[in-house]
């Protein structure tokens, strides 16, 4: 903070006054009209009330309309006028009031995203990476991300409120697992949204979506191990009712069968927890004697790492392990966990692109987008 704070610091009470209703009222009523003041500069050189369109118009000697046009339709202005107006906008630090603009245009430029935390004791932290990319991608188009959580028991009520109060222009939905009602409900409400995840349960769904090819990822992982000389490669996946899990599993199968290798007894389906992965890998190791594991998640892969640790085995040397999601855990655990990496940055970009098309007038119909993951190779293979 370089010591500059002391000079301008005040009590918190005073800090906030500038934005309290009282302060605004006082300013308006005292009928100040001097440009320097009206532009929101108090004697102390601190902004008091944000600059408005009218301030800019007055100072530039044009009508409010012209200022609005300078911002939204600059091509309508004569170059000289545009330059002058822009000059004043810069001088005054004018930025259009979002509430007023939203009210008028019926568009908040806000995108709603239900934010659920990563499970504790799990290796999943996709959201973090995705969210950041999303924030960046939306910012480029002048949108912001609004986070919300479930209000209460009713899982859709938060969406409903946001929609009814026109707080957001659209949603991004990340729950596309079996039985998740969001996509269907939003479709029914005719609310614009883009899903991260295919509409597994209803192939007839026509909403916009972006997803990562899990089968291709697992195939990539399996081929990597095959190329390393492994033949007995086990699969640790999720329960059968998980579409995503079955999709990834199909990739493993495909790669194995392509080399004419048997997969009998080499697969298991368990819950996505460390302990499930730990016990399942122990069982597999005892029975099918695989030399490598491909897992549906880093969490399961870490379960396998636990088993190796228990037995004094070393990942990568004695048994190879490959995970899925390239979590931070995969990146920092010794000796490094090879893992399938989802291109979340690209997903975010595609999601925003889809959003853009959806919110265009008229909206543009669009197919789903399927992206291909990569493999981050580390010490465990």
């Amino acid at each position: 903070m370089g010591g500059t704070l002391g000079e301008t610091a005040d009590s918190p009470a005073e800090d906030a006054q500038g934005y309290a209703d009282d302060a605004f009222g006082t300013i308006k009523e005292s009928g100040m009209s001097h440009p320097e003041q009206r532009a929101g500069r108090a004697p102390g050189n601190l902004p008091v009330a944000p600059t408005t369109l009218a301030d800019v118009a007055e100072r530039a000697g044009v009508s409010r309309q012209t200022v609005s046009n300078a911002v939204n339709n600059p091509e309508l202005l004569r170059p000289a006028t545009l330059r002058r107006v822009r000059q004043v906008i810069a001088e005054l630090g004018y930025s259009p009031n979002r509430a007023a603009r939203s009210l008028r245009t019926r568009s908040s430029h806000l995108i709603g995203l239900r934010f659920t935390p990563a499970q504790e004791s799990t290796a999943n932290a996709l959201m973090d990476r995705f969210l950041h990319s999303l924030v960046e991608a939306t910012a480029e188009r002048g949108y912001h991300v609004l986070l919300f959580s479930d209000d209460d028991t009713e899982p859709l009520s938060a969406y409903d409120h946001l929609l009814r109060s026109t707080a957001v222009d659209a949603f991004i939905v990340t729950d596309t697992y079996l039985g998740a009602p969001q996509a269907a409900w939003l479709t029914g409400q005719r609310a614009p949204f883009v899903a991260f995840g295919r509409p597994w349960a209803d192939p007839r769904a026509t909403h916009a979506w972006v997803d990562v090819d899990g089968a291709a990822g697992a195939e990539l992982a399996t081929e990597h191990l095959l190329d390393k000389g492994h033949e007995r490669i086990a699969w640790m996946g999720w329960r059968k009712d998980s579409f995503i899990g079955e999709d990834r599993r199909a990739g493993w199968l495909r790669a194995m069968h392509a080399r004419g290798l048997s997969t009998t007894g080499l697969a298991c389906r368990v819950e996505d927890t460390i302990s499930s992965g730990r016990s399942a890998s122990a069982v597999l190791l005892g029975e099918a004697r695989p030399t490598a594991f491909v897992c549906a998640s880093d969490t399961l892969a870490m379960g396998a790492m636990h088993t190796l640790h228990d037995r004094g085995l070393v990942a990568g040397r004695d048994v190879a392990v490959v995970g899925f999601d390239d979590s931070q855990v995969a990146q920092v655990v010794p000796p490094g966990l090879t893992s399938v990496r989802q291109p979340l940055e690209d997903v975010a970009v595609e999601v925003v692109r889809a959003l853009q098309r959806l919110l265009a007038t008229p909206p543009v119909a669009q197919p789903g987008v399927l992206l291909t993951p990569t493999l981050a190779v580390r010490g465990s293979s």
Copy 2:
């Protein structure tokens, strides 16, 4: 999605029409006034235009103001009227338009947070947990979290825009490291904000803040090891210019000195990366021969885990390791990394509480809040 999607699904193009300007224009111009229609129900039973205050007023046979009061000052209404209005609000699914309300009240009920992603190849994912708690805590008070990132080169311009466009009521600042300009700048702008992190660099700063007592955390970790019988406990921390790092280090020193133990040669200060932690721990192990490590972060602790792995040593059995932050990595790495856990849920609650006081009229001055972390004990100690 339970098969309900097909019945109501339409092309994306039509989905979004309901919220496009064109559609709205058409509706208004056709002068519909029948309550069922005006309330936003198209024949297909799908909302078309959100219900407004006027719709509710008309249907309830009261003035718009009365409806507004029913929502914001229910105690002003006669019970019978209130009941009737509320009934209609429920029937019509009315939710006040946020843009209109913001424009009028000069309050968006949005809290801005600059969202930076966790570093790759680092064990830090505090943000994820904190953010979720924050979303929940703000929701309880009717606020939402708006995420943004740096526009470009100028680190403050994003704050500036949001402020000038009155897009947010306040900010939450998480960068309080040495030289971070946010807090000082916001104070200068008289913008309401609460910091997660003490104003280390300027003790005279009077803004609201919430922080976790890092020294107490390190002390807790060190005492835990001392209780286990360790005496040669090494410290791996950050560079000296990190206030947070020095604070945590002080906790280690305090605990060691309290037992009359020497700390000479037992500490190092390095960058917060796996490889730094790895090499530093290797050096310490060779020279000072510690039996345990207390680290300023899980990242450094994982560096130590790498060193143990390299030497065929087992964490917890041969050498104890304790990290800081209780990241997912600490939770899933075998055999489990003991780590200091920050009470982020409580931090979020306190931050929102501070925000509330800040945005009250008049704002309430408040001191900083310092919370105490806990220790999550696992296999590594």
